[in-house]
């Protein structure tokens, strides 16, 4: 891993150079809501500091959009024309992504690229360079510390291209990949070797940041993993939690790890297209069979399945991590407030309560 220092005042100059070569996404405000949007002017620096400010949606939609056309067709018989829309031509940089969301993208990589290489995902993902910012100060819903999601990415995780660590008027820059190196090499004039003592400050900042999390209810994550894995949760608890679920799908959509999609088509008069769209295991239609039978008709059943996939050992072993990175977005999106921290807490506290007597 190579390390540099970068002055905050030079960040804009670096981004300017990137824009000439790539499309650069940074968190920006639109009507006070934050989105990852392509930059065309100076980014808002308060969103790129050490304090975590999370956009409503993780940048997963840049590699896996909410909906995308797979192919369109027109004409009939011999005349039929099939068209696959083009992928991105230029490189994509996601700058200002936080540690948790970065881990989310690496989790998506496993799903879309490991056993089967998904053409649509890969043609975007392979063009992406991730410039992560570590969090010196978590936001109020953050619990990445319980999920190997953050607040800093360790050098052992390897899962980033560039990590920026915010100091007072500069960043410590850690570079972990050749793509990352290419971005840095564009501006040798603004990247300097790290000053003496920076390394110590880095670890001090990380430690300080970690202290800001406790006590978090999700520190019971291991209890939850154990109970879910051993099927040690009484069905009543799932029913009760399921009753508070509105099956609106919001939790899946905002989750940096959720990758389920459906494929639909819209057609009329010999022309139309197939497209895929974000789907959710919370939806009844997700598992309903053509016959009308649904193996997970009850909401509690679907709810259980969702958390089994996220937390059971079976998946942990397969994927190397649990399916939650601790960004806390489900807390913002869930109308029933049956969020990851609440579910974990209920599972743990259920020991004393009626279910584990």
């Amino acid at each position: 891993m190579e390390k540099y220092s970068l002055r905050k005042a030079d960040l804009n100059r670096w981004i300017d150079s990137m824009i000439d070569r790539c499309q650069v996404f940074v968190p920006s405000r639109i009507e006070e809501e934050i989105f990852f949007s392509p930059v065309d002017e100076a980014p808002e620096m308060d969103l790129l500091g050490g304090t975590a400010v999370l956009p409503y949606l993780p940048p997963k939609d840049i590699v896996f959009p909410q909906s995308e056309i797979l192919f369109s067709y027109s004409g009939k018989g011999e005349e039929t024309k099939v068209e696959v829309p083009e992928g991105p031509k230029r490189g994509l940089v996601i700058l200002g992504i936080r540690s948790c969301d970065t881990q989310g993208i690496f989790w998506l990589d496993q799903f879309f690229q490991e056993n089967f290489n998904d053409f649509y995902y890969s043609r975007r993902r392979n063009k992406v360079t991730l410039v992560t910012i570590a969090c010196n100060q978590p936001a109020k819903n953050c619990f990445c510390i319980c999920c190997q999601g953050g607040p800093f990415l360790g050098s052992e995780s390897q899962n980033f291209d560039i990590q920026l660590i915010s100091f007072q008027d500069g960043y410590l820059v850690e570079c972990n990949s050749t793509q990352g190196k290419e971005l840095i090499d564009m501006r040798p004039d603004i990247f300097f070797p790290p000053e003496a003592g920076m390394e110590e400050i880095r670890f001090h900042l990380e430690e300080e940041s970690q202290k800001k999390f406790l006590p978090a209810p999700t520190s019971y994550m291991s209890t939850a993993i154990r109970r879910i894995t051993s099927n040690g949760i009484p069905p009543e608890l799932w029913t009760e939690l399921g009753e508070r679920c509105f099956d609106d799908g919001g939790c899946s959509f905002v989750c940096p790890c959720c990758s389920c999609f459906g494929v639909g088509y819209l057609a009329n008069d010999g022309k139309g297209y197939h497209y895929r769209y974000w789907d959710s295991c919370g939806y009844a239609g997700f598992t309903r069979e053509v016959s009308g039978h649904n193996p997970r008709e009850e909401k509690g059943e679907r709810f259980k399945r969702r958390f089994f996939h996220k937390l059971s050992y079976q998946y942990l072993k397969k994927d190397g991590r649990i399916g939650c990175v601790g960004c806390g977005r489900c807390i913002t999106a869930c109308p029933g407030e049956v969020t990851m921290p609440l579910v974990v807490e209920r599972i743990r506290k259920a020991q004393e309560a009626k279910y584990f007597k």
Binding site: I30, S37, S67, F246, G249, N268, Y283, P335
Partner: protein
Amino acid sequence: MIKNISTICSFCNTGCGMFVRLNGEEAVGILPNTRHPVNEGRLCKRGWNRYQNLRSENRLSHPLVRKGSKLEEVGWDEALQISKEKISYILSRYGPQAIGVVGSPWLTNEDNYRVSLFCRQVLKSNNLDGSYRFSGAAALTALNETWSGALGSLASIQSLRESPAILVLGRESLRDFSPVGARMIQAYQQGSKLILADPVCLRAEHFYNTFLPFPEEQLAQILKEKKDVAEQIPRLLAQPGSAIVFIADQIKTASSLLSLLSFMSQDQADPHPIPMMIPLSRSPNFRGAWDMGIRPNNGGLTLLEMLDLSNVIKGLLVFGDDLLTHLPSFSLMEKLKKLDFLLVADRFLTDTVQIAHGAFPIPLLAESTGTLTNCEGRVQKLRPVLNTGGESRPLSYLLSSLTRKLGSSLPAHSDKEMRKEISLVIPQYQNIHSESELDSPQGIVLSTLKHPVIPSIPFETREGPQAPGKYHLFIPNTLYAWSRNQMILESPLLRIEYPEDRMALRMNRQDVRELRIRPGEKIKVCSDHGEAQLAVEIDESLPSRTLVLPMHFSTVIENLAGKRKFDHIANYSYCPDLEVTLKKV
């Protein structure tokens, strides 16, 4: 490159704030608005997937005119000319009262107001109504009576979470409208009392403190029998900030709602404290259309009468509604098909368009400017997020062209000018001309000008006890109504989420066992009036001896029920619940 455009959802009348995400001219996603007071960053599944129907390939893209048995694409001028000739002919031959006009809860306030001016001032007809006559007019009439015609703001969804007590009529009102349900669950967690009254539910979800099996007539019965409950509930709901939440589309009679209100306010100090009222609807501008005058006046006919009174109405002009899917009986559908002239203005190639003589494409709500009034009485502005509608033109264009061709004149107002006029004419809308407030995510909350006056209407109780061997057949307006909504049908995901209901008689597992039949097997249902054979399906939530058949299976229900009952307050007929017997086939 994705553009995020802030607007409001136009699926239902909760009125959630959202961003529609565009890639060029294509809607590719939705995000909730976290600063919007109605939903604060949350949406229901319709809202999250709303972008799908914005890309429909099934739009009505050209004006259509019936030539013989076929609909043919023509230009706007030709379609307008032909329509004008038909309308003129009916007007001169039979007079203005032979024409009926249908406005719509799927049109903006401004467009509904235009429709109402067109009907009353250009056509000079008083026969103006909306499809809510068949589901919802009962509730609207009751609320309108209570607030003496000036229905202002009735509630705030956001402050529901501080309600000390909430009466929920029908559990779908909590389930299917998640921003509303979310606040109710929050209220429960903070110690509020949640009371569910549901006609067909046996097991209430865990956050209900009290569970009343039956609203309307059956509620009366229960309250009569259980004195403690009957005393406790009005007391709970008399606390300031309490609320009654219901799906207005499901309320069958105005008197049922009025008698409930009058029961709640019995023995209360005068003036009656009245709970917040949240009349939910599956259409986005249910309140607004009504407020804009989409209802008959001066002896005009209701939609039911327009179709039912034989031969009075010769021509019907339907603006922004798929009327056919709302008609509750086969005979009314037949009558709609037999009109001399049926004009439809809509967005999709709907069933109603298929039987029309002339059809005009108009923009989706997502392509329109103008305002909608949500269930709280909040007026919110739509932003035109895209323009994909082929040859579609705004309804204002259609109406002003017809007006001109008919040799009449109406000032051609922009939406902004229209709002100015509405603010002068409709008292509770007096504040809505402030454009800067309309542009904020809060919108404008209607003024409450009148104090509610609750007429004293006793509960109608069920006649006698249930006869031995009989089953009570409920005919509710269920969630499945969504499966007829064209916006659902045009969304691949939602089409799966709201499947077409299978025509089946739902019953309790115990009853199925006693009858020695299997699910899926057919059974004969006999009423005083007729009989029908229906497949049986188990519904775990139903109490014993209670059967459910959703109301949209109108032909079968018509067979069993025969004559519909008439609600004189709401001027509307409905199918009462039935006592039936079951026989093995």
